[in-house]
């Protein structure tokens, strides 16, 4: 049964078993994202619980304009980014103001990033800023479109394209620093 059908059934009957099915479908993916971004199993567990409560409380607001999975990931990323922002007191985590515009950006092909071995990729993603890591995960792990990422982060599509380009550049630069020298 499709996600949207389950939501419809849940909202018409308020039978929690329908929500449990949705939860089972997404719990692993949400947890994986939380642990990638928060880097702590206990924090990831707490975050996952809060994210699903948020999804449950806002299920009636899901308009169906995007896929349910995109909506779930959007809540997950925004929750984790907010959490880190609060922790670091870094108010402009996704701000373009803090980007070093003067630095030349190398155009990195998708294949070059996708060919990096998993353990090395993990190390690279731990070393780059969280905002860059998040956009790379959205693009390559969740395979979201530029438009979907822009909606999730409330940015323009051109800003997201630039953000991804910068993130790819930083990731590949880190790869060369760590493994090519």
């Amino acid at each position: 049964m499709k996600d949207e059908e389950l939501i419809e059934l849940y909202l018409s009957s308020y039978d929690s078993s329908y929500f449990s099915i949705l939860h089972k479908r997404y719990s692993t993916k949400v947890y994986s994202k939380c642990i990638s971004l928060l880097k702590n199993e206990d924090l990831a567990q707490d975050a996952m619980q809060e994210i699903f409560v948020k999804i449950f409380m806002n299920l009636s607001k899901f308009s169906g304009r995007s896929k349910f999975s995109t909506w779930v990931y959007s809540i997950t990323y925004n929750f984790c980014i907010d959490f880190i922002r609060r922790k670091k007191k870094e108010r402009k985590l996704f701000s373009d103001d803090i980007e070093n515009a003067a630095e030349p950006i190398e155009d990195v092909k998708d294949e070059e990033l996708l060919e990096i071995e998993v353990s090395r990729l993990k190390r690279i993603l731990e070393e780059i800023p969280i905002a860059d890591k998040a956009v790379l995960l959205m693009k390559y792990q969740d395979e979201l479109s530029i438009r979907e990422i822009a909606e999730m982060l409330d940015k323009s599509e051109s800003a997201i394209k630039m953000k991804i380009k910068r993130a790819k550049h930083k990731a590949y630069k880190k790869y060369k620093e760590l493994f090519k020298n």
Binding site: S32, M48, V53, I116, L121
Partner: protein, 95 residues
């Protein structure tokens, strides 16, 4: 569909400990959802009555209860007041 290395990385995050945590969280969320549903049922069942109680406390009659009026047409022995009021007789006394 084959997975790319970013997606394989996501799979690597799911360690045996992570599986236990997911299982634990699933149970907690199921319990929360059931609790919210129970509260919803209670509110649905009792809220109209609470409203009635407030209405009664403010001096109004309970909803659905007809306003009791003393039947002045009955004699005192049948529970009426026996008093003749202007509305008790025929509407036109000349008839």
């Amino acid at each position: 569909m084959s997975k790319n290395n970013f997606q394989r990385l996501s799979d690597e995050n799911i360690t045996p400990r992570a599986k236990d945590q997911i299982e634990k969280t699933t149970k907690e969320i199921d319990a929360s959802v059931s609790f919210v549903k129970m509260i919803g049922n209670i509110v649905e069942m009792y809220l109209p009555r609470v409203f009635d109680v407030f209405m009664m406390m403010s001096g109004a009659q309970q909803r659905g209860t007809p306003v009791e009026q003393e039947d002045t047409t009955l004699p005192p022995s049948s529970g009426g007041s026996g008093q003749i009021t202007p509305n008790s007789g025929p509407s036109n006394p000349d008839l």
